[in-house]
């Protein structure tokens, strides 16, 4: 029986990260508070939580798209900024963000052009990656000729093209229908196992998080905090049958309950600005 990789030295170390957003000159929103998390090489870690819990913000901080207000992020022993400059990250967003004027193949080549690789390497690499996501027959197509799921696979191929050590995925399948999403989940697992890339994955789907992850990190909103880290001990390789096992359902329940408990209690609203306190209180009253 295959299991998840044995703990390796952490690839990502998040220590005491806070993030506050100033709105105007008065109100301040605390998006993240006291985040500590370590991710080992080859791990598949999902961040899950309700809207506004800061899970995308945390992903963006790790990827150095925004910087934390306090705390440190260390990636491969470097600062997040240095890691970004060293092209340690591949990013996949909820929208595929493909360039319409480029063919599928040329979209995958984009990061390789920016890295200054030669034409032959670019072509070979782009083909290899598109074979990996099973789009080898669509090299010369344009993005608008593909379905949403296929476009997202192109985005994954593009993110993997320059062999990043970490793949950051921000609700990559959020816009897809349930059937396509499940197919993409299997696909991403296959790619993860083939490439050995470390993946940090943001989602608001409990089944998706459980099916994919080595560990599920449950977050609560206002301010965004990690309330629980749940190891997923489902055997690998996982496939469609995994979704029907007893252990799978148990873990889905564990994650759901962790979410419900973390979900908008009044204690968590202490440092929130007046504008959003009303919302929090309303939710607290309902919950």
């Amino acid at each position: 029986m295959n299991t998840d990789p044995a703990p390796a030295p952490p690839v990502v170390r998040i220590a005491g990260v806070d993030k506050t957003f100033a709105r105007g000159d008065r109100a301040v929103t605390t998006a993240l508070e006291a985040i500590d998390l370590e991710i080992s090489g080859g791990e598949f870690v999902s961040l899950i939580g309700p809207s506004g819990c800061g899970k995308s913000t945390l992903l963006r901080i790790v990827g150095d798209l925004i910087s934390p207000s306090a705390g440190t992020v260390t990636v491969n022993g470097k600062t997040a900024e240095q890691a970004r400059r060293d092209r340690d990250y591949g990013m996949v967003f909820q929208a595929p963000v493909l360039f319409d004027w480029r063919t599928v193949e040329d979209n995958v080549k984009l990061p390789l052009e920016i890295l200054g690789q030669d034409a032959a390497t670019r072509s070979a690499r782009a083909r290899e990656m598109l074979e990996l996501v099973e789009l080898g027959d669509f090299l010369k197509h344009h993005p608008y000729q593909l379905s949403g799921g296929m476009q997202q696979r192109v985005a994954i191929a593009r993110a993997l093209a320059f062999q990043p050590s970490i793949l950051l995925m921000d609700e990559p399948f959020g816009a897809l229908d349930e059937m396509t999403r499940e197919r993409m989940n299997s696909e991403v697992l296959r790619i993860w196992q083939q490439t050995g890339t470390t993946i940090l994955f943001v989602t608001h789907s409990i089944p998706e998080a459980v099916f994919l992850s080595s560990r599920v990190v449950v977050m609560s909103p206002r301010p965004g905090r990690i309330t629980k880290v749940i190891p997923i001990d489902l055997p690998r390789p996982r496939n469609e049958d995994t979704r029907e096992t007893r252990r799978y359902f148990e873990l889905v329940t564990v994650v759901r309950e962790a979410l419900r408990r973390g979900g908008g209690s009044l204690d968590d609203a202490a440092t929130v600005d007046p504008a959003s306190t009303d919302r929090t209180m309303a939710e607290g009253a309902v919950g």
Binding site: M91, W101, T103, I114
Partner: protein, 312 residues
Amino acid sequence: MTTATATRGGRPAVVSDRRPAAGRRRRVLTWVLLVGGVLVVWEGLKFLGGTPWRAPGALPGPDNAILWNPPFRWPFVNDLNLPHVWNIALAFFDPWQRGADRNVAQLLFDAALYTWKEAALGFLLGTAIGLVLATVFVHSRIAERALVPYVVASQTVPIIAIAPLITYAFGGSTLAVVVIATYLTFFPVTIAMIVGLRSFDPRALELTRSYAASRWDVYRKLRLPASLPYLFTALKIAATASIVGAIIGESPGGIADGLGRVILTYNQYYITGPEKLWAAIIASGMLGVAFYLVVRTVEIAVLRDRPGAAEG
């Protein structure tokens, strides 16, 4: 020409699924109907209220019989204001002036070519200036705020007022004409490209940031390709504006070889031969349309792979 790109191998019906031959026939038919309609209205008005009709090319007088006497007399459709279309057509084959061995058509063709060269030079210069200005503006809010008002103001001054100044400044040479054409063309390019260079999906900026792409990479891989539809829209405006600019610019400088001089000359002889001025107007219009079509052809070639590019 619109659907010419629609059938390229295996692409879906994003652009248009009509067969190109059928589409072309329909367009030609539409065009013929449109031109025919204008001619019918033109001659219809003259039939009702014009000057008494005589044979094509015949001068008024007792020697030339009246073929039709319209029931009304409307001054705006008399032979001076609205000559018969066949007389305008015949005017192309008259000698361009008494005793000349070149006819009007040859004169107009040479003049149009001369004017087009000036306009094209101004068009290229104006496009380059517009591109540089827009590139500076999208990278510097301060420059944009400080300078865009002046760019706009430059176009609110009537070109008729500025043309003589520029002509004096450049000593009445063709350079002055080029400068005036440039002056009219840099504006649409600047304004369109300020929008165009920002028209990319903002999320793509996060993507390029994750690649640690330089500003120059972002410019040539993202901003510029994304802006091309805007650029071509501006270039189509600039193409026609450059022709107008060149024709206006020729007049005060006394440039003898272009359409501006031809129009001035035939303006002076309007009373005796309005058909020739009309011929010059038609030639100017055709020059503008021809330049437009050149730009449009390049546009179709460059944007052929984009969704909806063949429309517009």
